[in-house]
Symmetry: C2
Subunit: 473 residues, 2 copies
């Protein structure tokens, strides 16, 4: 019945869609543009990043350092690297903190008219519990800046830090950085002024009822008081009520949390190595962090970086790439609350340098699974210029951004090496990132398949270009 | 995600957040960079685009040309332009088609083992109903290309066009364009081969159960047969079953639709004018299209372009901009199924040229409310070079793309004018657009506030830069 005739271009398209892309090609001969084209096509046609992310998010779930699920994630990550053909895989031991959120984080505000408002809160990571895990209560004090407390007596108060992320900054990461001090240092600043507890406005542009957690850092010489993230809607309500003057006797806040510090346990960075054919002693690292916060699923932060890393290994193998240098694929532990994985990796890298190995470059994906915009570089001028020289090769993939900046928390400690490695960070679009970041909504369903894949292909391409074009030893 | 340290900026930010942005400044004196900065800040701090889009999507809803809701949208659009301070507003009459979807669009497939599969379908815009609005039934024929039908006898068959959008193309618009012929011309190609009806695989990368509608065009000399969009999941299932050989007696499809052609009615383009201070006879147009498909809410397509246009007017006024040329803000009618609004606008523009007015430039936003990437230009070299000369001014807003291409369907007919106006199209990121496009999911909830605002600010900025830098008459 059917006698099909297929036009020229169509059969080409059909062939591309049906056949493995570039398999068994000799990639030493093809141009950079053809190599990058093959990597993107491989990932878009046969990508496993989205499925891997589902496994990580749904079968394993969130995976805070020190938790049993982080142990499971480590084993899973290593097994995928083995399946994808890494020459060797191993766990690099890292001692990590084992803090737990517990199952109670409650807060309410009481107003002078007798009404109360339940507040959406969750413990900041590393917070102490309320004493005896019972209620604390005190009058509310609202400030926008830590240094406002230098001249205030907050004795017995619960302090709300309520400075929003600046909506006028185009770069949401910069807006996050500009509000971060409240979460990182608010508890100690408030304790110094006599406060008994702290609420921190969630670090997000979204006006919603989700508390967004994240780490705090207590100062050594100040009492440790409990600290919770509060949703932006609740923070705004409290601050408005506080400023309105309609509660002359003040607003009182109660807070109860049973989070707990369980000391430290041994976990580790997952490392997969692919030995270089020409310069095996030179190492290029690509990684993301395997740990996540313990609400949501850590899908964007940093499940995306994890599956970008795994997919880059898979795709480079699939297109027949043969690295000159040794490629190391690393799933770091403990980025969220200590960065002990990144620090240990750099410590061992320094020892490896003594033994004649050289970490020449590292790339990290830890800014989400959104559509990639380009990369940022933390490098000497020559390194920055090298990466910028690929702009024409990368432009067809809408990769236009080649700025300077922090390339990533996990690879950051490698900066201390001499000579300094070229550090590169993936830059996905950031407009939606903080809507989800560190909240219950950072789940697999909120990661877009194609956008995730484009990020993975970008990581694979940058690693391949680094391997091809770094100065020969 | 790492934090960025911004020392000392925090107190400045506080001040910026509390004060109205740029209000009542004299903008003839400020640099391009300061002007663009003020426009983005105004939109991000005080933007009304997201609220306007909610009104358009929720209070008015979808608004196919010829429908009563399109009438309501026209009145609303004009009222917003009046409120935002346009010097004059008016409706430019346009005769538009009045096709209705009806309330029945059903299809099922029956297999030789006696099982049946209900199919998710909806009429393609402009389709005839099934005869007497009753069931048609015939054996399934699956093809990937229109010209496959040149050598096939499809007599009595229902043809499924099942060529997916090419996932390997980075530009999803190009992938859409590459599959579009099936929807636009499939019905006539199938009718010529004897078919009684057509199903067209929805034009989306998403594998889901949503039919995505859109217009078809019947050839004059071929019988008009009913045509429906079918979800990608169903199209894939049918094609697999068809190719499997496990149904030797074939697969039969039934289809029933009661869509209807109601002739034409008069509606119109909404026009708001802001008279130029120096060259009032030179016109710069900014627009989107007010009509939408009649499923979903037309939120991205093209509610976003509508509110981008309105917000540009509001923001330019708010920052104290004084145009040298006359700015025309236009909400076009009938982009989706005829482009009669755009054609009428160009016809009147040609008459205006005779009267001494000159359309020197036009910009359109009709590619969604996603984060902007830049603009594409349909212009002579000098115009393209002019816009590219602003790259440094626009780079801080992550606007990097300055390619050539179709600037927009509505403004496209202006190309026929002599001298040819500079046409510019907003380019938002396109990775998610076709997931929602022409489907029930193109709703307000799926438009991101900041991303929408960044698009509006981009439109306002480009219009302001055009006004400042187009060659003087």
């Amino acid at each position: 019945m059917q006698k099909m005739k297929i036009a020229g271009v169509a059969s080409l398209l059909g062939a591309v869609l049906l056949s493995p892309v570039g398999l068994a090609q000799d990639h030493t001969a093809v141009s950079d543009s053809a190599l990058v084209r093959d990597l993107f096509s491989e990932v878009l046609a046969h990508g496993e990043a989205h499925d891997n992310l589902r496994t990580l998010c749904k079968d394993i779930g969130h995976r805070l350092s020190g938790s049993p699920s982080a142990d499971r994630a480590i084993l899973w990550g290593q097994s995928v690297m083995d399946a994808y053909g890494a020459d060797t895989t191993y766990i690099m031991p890292v001692e990590v903190p084992a803090w737990t959120r517990g199952d109670v984080a409650e807060a309410t505000a009481s107003f002078s008219d007798g009404t109360t408002l339940p507040l959406h809160v969750t413990a900041l990571g590393g917070s102490v519990p309320t004493p005896q895990q019972e209620w604390i209560e005190g009058p509310l004090l609202v400030v926008r800046h830590l240094d406002a407390l230098d001249t205030l007596d907050a004795t017995g108060h619960i302090v709300l830090f309520n400075r929003p992320m600046d909506p006028l900054l185009i770069n949401t990461g910069a807006a996050y950085g500009g509000a971060f001090d409240q979460r990182g240092g608010g508890a100690s600043a408030a304790a110094k002024a006599g406060a008994i507890g702290v609420l921190v406005r969630s670090l997000t542009h979204a006006l919603d009822t989700l508390p967004h957690t994240g780490s705090l850092r207590y100062k050594d010489d100040v009492e440790r008081i409990p600290a919770a993230a509060i949703s932006t809607v609740d923070a705004s309500s409290l601050a408005q009520a506080h400023a309105s003057g309609s509660h002359p006797e003040g607003i009182r806040v109660r807070l109860r949390m049973n989070c707990q510090d369980l000391g430290t346990v041994e976990q580790g960075n997952v490392v997969g190595e692919w030995t270089g054919s020409q310069y095996p002693e030179e190492i290029i690292t690509l990684g993301g962090h395997l740990d996540s916060w313990d609400i949501g699923e850590g899908a964007h932060d940093d499940g995306s970086g994890v599956v970008h890393t795994l997919e880059a290994l898979r795709a480079l193998k699939a297109v027949g790439f043969e690295p000159q240098r040794t490629l190391r694929f690393v799933l770091f532990i403990n980025e969220e609350n200590g960065n002990r994985g990144g620090k240990m990796y750099a410590k061992i890298a320094a020892e490896e340098h003594e033994q004649g190995l050289r970490h020449v470059a590292a790339m990290e994906s830890d800014a989400g699974g959104f559509v990639p915009r380009g990369v940022r570089m933390d490098a000497l001028d020559a390194g920055v210029d090298l990466v910028r020289s690929w702009a024409g090769t990368l432009e067809p993939y809408n990769l236009h951004y080649f700025g300077r900046g922090g390339a990533g928390v996990d690879i950051g400690p490698l900066k201390a090496l001499t000579p300094r490695p070229l550090l590169v960070g993936l830059v996905p679009d950031g407009q939606r990132y903080f809507d989800l970041h560190h909240s219950s909504q950072d789940v697999w369903e909120n990661v877009h398949k194609r956008e995730l894949e484009l990020g993975a292909a970008t990581c694979a391409s940058i690693v391949a270009l680094l391997d091809r074009h770094l100065p020969t030893p």
